[in-house]
Amino acid sequence: MGDWWTPAMMTDPILDTKDLSSISGISISPSRQNSLPSLHSTMTLPKTSYSVLSAFCTEENVSQCITYINQEVCSLGLSGVSLECNSDGLNAVPVLNLLYELVQLHRKAQRTLQELESQQLKNESDVNHLQHNNSRLKDQLEHARRENSGLHEGERQLQLKIKTLQNCLKSEKEEVQKLQSIISSRATQYNHDTKRKERECTKLKERLNQLLMDKRDKKLAIEVSNYVGRSDGKRGLWKTGKMEARHEGEMYKALLSDYESRQRSLMLENSELKKVLQHMKKDMISILSPKKPCVKTEPAEDSLEQVASEGEEETTDSSRETLEQSCEQAREQLTNSIRLQWRKLKSHMERLDSQASLVACQERESEDVISRREHEEEMQRMRLEVQQCKDFIHMQQQLLQDMSSPCDEETAALLNDCYTLEEKERLKEEWRLFNEQKKNFERERRNFTEAAIRLGHERKAFEDDRAAWLKTQFLNMTPFVDRKRPALPETQSALSVSTEPEAKIQSTPPLLTKSQSYTAFSTPKAAPVKMPSTADLYRSLRLIPESRSHGRRQSSETLDKSRLRHGSADCSVFSLVRDENSPI
């Protein structure tokens, strides 16, 4: 852009001064526009210099200027906007458009510039930070290096020290060894020397002795006014072999007497100890023997004890007689028996101990139980008391409420409400109870009806049987015995007036087989599912033959029949029942 700009300036230096005013006039118009707050330029040139220097366009070079501007604009990429020059001058619209574009461009540029600046600032601060960081790290590194070197130095020194110490140790060791060797050598030397000296000394002494003897030291003498008698009054004896033997004998006598006295004292001690042992054993036996009965619960130990006691009896006798003899065997026996007794005593003591501990445990437990029971009883009692108290309090409260209710209408209403509610609750409860009772009753009734139906059927069967029996009796009594069989249906018909259902049943023998097979299927359904109604009950109880529920009855009949056939025991039961029910 500068390339373009500067030559234009250079080429027309004269124009500059001439178009000063017009340029200024043009330049004013944008400045006026710039008076808007949005328009703001950081790069605004000083107006004075602008107005003086940039006399770009004059009236003469308008076209040139226009082309130049166009070119410029083209190069800026604003090809859509170009200035056209017509006769009366510049067309204002494209110019304004161009200006607008330019302003836009300028603003964009400004913005990017700002952004870049801020970016720049940020980057700078980043750089600063990094530099700072860097320097810090460098410092650290330096510090670490220094430290490292220091440590290295220390280590080196320590190693040096170690080396010197090791050297010292080595030298000390050597020294010690040397000294030890010196000591030992010295010791041997000194020993040798002392021996030598001693020898010399003895030699000297010898010599001295000899000299003294030779010299016959005049001074060496004893002057006694008169001889003294021996302290024992005896005369001195000549030194002879006999004397020597006597001395020996005396010495041995002395030794012997010493040993004898020592033996005597030991014997005494021994006998004392034996006595103590005997005593101990006796005590043990006396302690252990009364315990035997209680020990007898344990057979193994008992047997052992008995064996032991037998043995011990023996030993006591033997030891008693050998106490004076003090022979080896007897002593052994004694000690053995004592040992045995001791073991027994120990085991007994242990047992006693364990028993004692057990008893103690039990006592403790029983104490515990008693206390717990007592505690529970107490608790129970107290709970009861509490309950009573509560009841009492409740009653009192109720009474109080009752007392207080007439004084206040509202509260009375409220209380009434409460009471009704309570009543309701109570009623509900009662209702529920009632329902339950009803249900129970129903169940009972059902059971009862069933039983009644069964009874009815049984009765019917019984009636049938009686009728048949009477009939046969009757027929047997009649002279027409041989005509009995053909007459049977007739009698049946004759009797049918009173016992119709019986006849009906009687008339269905072919059905029996069928019903039997039928019952196999139907009984589970027929009996529990189909509930006999109350009407049925009444009917069966009163024995009213009704044609209404004939079919149903028949089914139940068949059921009962089948049951009858199944077991005679049932029959008897039913008969009993019937007997009871017969008054009905």
Binding site: T194, K195, E198, R199, C201, T202, K205, L208, N209, L212, D217, K218, K219, L220, A221, I222, E223, V224, S225, N226, Y227, V228, G229, R230, S231, D232, G236, L237, K239, M243, E244, H247, E248, E250, M251, Y252, A254, L255, D258, S261
Partner: protein, 446 residues
């Protein structure tokens, strides 16, 4: 408790005759024999030089006075005051002189332990025993006086010779299994000889009268060993005090250790009792003053003291010995049984102010007596379980099972008790200071 007048003596030479009738003392070159009861001079003998050592013969008939510097021994008779005997060891010198148990022979040890000369008063004969060993206790007689054991050193080895004292017949001569024998002692019944090595090695050997080695015992190695050995009067126990501040007791049947007595610096067993001597500053005036004034200056200026029971645990004063020196002041240096074998008294050298009393029936510590000054001497009453001790001040301390007490000497002048001797009957104690002696008569009811 009564005190006699204070009398002079020199070199602490004061001995009671074995029969208990007389007390012999020396002042310079004079030997005085006094009646023990009234202290009247019975006999007065003049020796040739300052006496260094005196000894009664066993029958109380003769007194031996040794003048080591002159190599002379003079013997005086009580029965015949004009009888005298002088033994001159000549140029060879004399370091020790003693009676034989029969009271008719004198055994002189010459200088350098060259030999022992046995002089007989009966026959004027002289015999020599060569090669005696110079040691702590190289010679011992059995209590019945029949035998003498002597340590010898020949060709760098220790030997033991057993002599019959009757005629100085050598009964046994055997090599002892010691490196450097330090001492030997007969058991009171005279049948066992205990022999111990020098302090460099803890070793004690027990020989029978006929020279058989019965047993040997060593508690530890590589440390200073035995410092003192004592038999119980019944010969039942042999107690060994050592440099590790312990007393070990061996029994006479197996010769094994049956008990070890420690001497700790603190006593915290509440069953024991510690009696501590507490000095009281004398209060001038008061009811005791008159008695003090009567009995004169000795006790007037010295503080009274009494024993107090110390609450336990009790800390005993302990001195730190210099272990680099020879013969360090540590370990059990003195032990003594009471005459009835019941008690044992011991003294630990690094607790010089404390005396330990042990019950030998229970084999445990009975009590500890702590004093304000180091103990100089402690001796049991020969007749009763009663102990007397002194600490170099003006007091005598008596302990018995019933209790203990300190008694201020009520005598004229300053009398610091350095040593003491019991009368054989136990009725009195001879108290010795550096230059004086007096007799303390015990009350009969004590």
């Amino acid at each position: 408790m009564n005190f006699s007048d204070v009398l002079k003596q020199s070199n602490q030479l004061c001995k009671i005759s074995p029969d208990g009738k007389y007390v012999a003392t020396c002042v310079q070159y004079r030997l005085m024999v006094r009646d023990i009861i009234n202290l009247q001079i019975v006999h007065l003998y003049s020796c040739l030089d300052q006496v260094m050592h005196i000894e009664w013969s066993s029958d109380s008939m003769f007194i031996l006075c040794a003048m080591y510097k002159r190599g002379l021994v003079q013997v005086w008779s009580l029965e015949q005051p004009d009888w005298h005997c002088k033994i001159d060891e000549g140029s060879i010198g004399l370091v020790s002189s003693r009676w034989s148990p029969d009271g008719r022979h004198i055994l002189n040890t010459t200088e350098f332990h060259l030999r022992i000369t046995v002089w007989s008063l009966c026959t004027k004969s002289v015999s020599y025993i060569k090669y005696p060993k110079a040691c702590q206790k190289g010679m011992d007689f059995t209590s019945d006086g029949r035998y003498m054991a002597l340590a010898e050193r020949r060709e760098c080895k220790d030997y033991i010779s057993v002599f019959v004292c009757d005629d100085w017949h050598l009964l046994r001569h055997f090599e002892s299994e010691t490196q450097d024998l330090a001492g030997l002692e007969w058991s009171p019944n005279g049948c066992v000889l205990a022999v111990w090595d020098s302090c460099l090695e803890y070793k004690i050997l027990l020989y029978s009268l006929d020279g058989r080695l019965l047993s040997s015992y060593s508690a530890y190695e590589w440390s200073l060993g035995i410092k003192s050995v004592t038999w119980s009067p019944s010969s039942q126990f042999l107690v060994i005090g050592s440099y590790d501040e312990k007393v070990r007791i061996l029994n006479h049947i197996t010769w094994k250790k049956i008990k070890e007595f420690d001497h700790p610096g603190t006593i915290n067993n509440c069953k024991k009792s510690v009696y501590k001597e507490v000095e009281q500053t004398t209060v001038v005036g008061g009811d005791n003053l008159s008695i003090h004034q009567l009995t004169a200056g000795n006790s007037l200026f010295s503080p009274k003291s009494k024993y107090e029971i110390t609450p336990l645990p009790a800390q005993l004063p302990v001195i730190k010995p210099d272990l680099d020196r020879a013969n360090p002041k540590i370990g059990i240096s003195a032990m003594a049984f009471s005459s009835d074998n019941r008690y044992l008294a011991t003294k630990n050298d690094n607790m010089p102010q404390s005396l330990w009393l042990w019950d030998m029936q229970k084999l445990c510590l009975l009590t500890v007596l702590e004093h304000t000054a180091p103990i100089r001497c402690f001796i049991w009453d020969p007749s009763r379980p009663r102990l007397a001790l002194c600490t170099g001040n003006t007091k005598v301390y008596i302990w018995s099972a019933a209790g203990c007490l300190s008694v201020n000497l009520r005598v004229e002048g300053i009398f610091q008790v350095q040593s003491l001797l019991w009368h054989p009957s136990g009725s009195s104690i001879v108290l010795l200071s550096k230059e004086q002696f007096c007799i303390c008569y015990m009350d009969s009811e004590d």
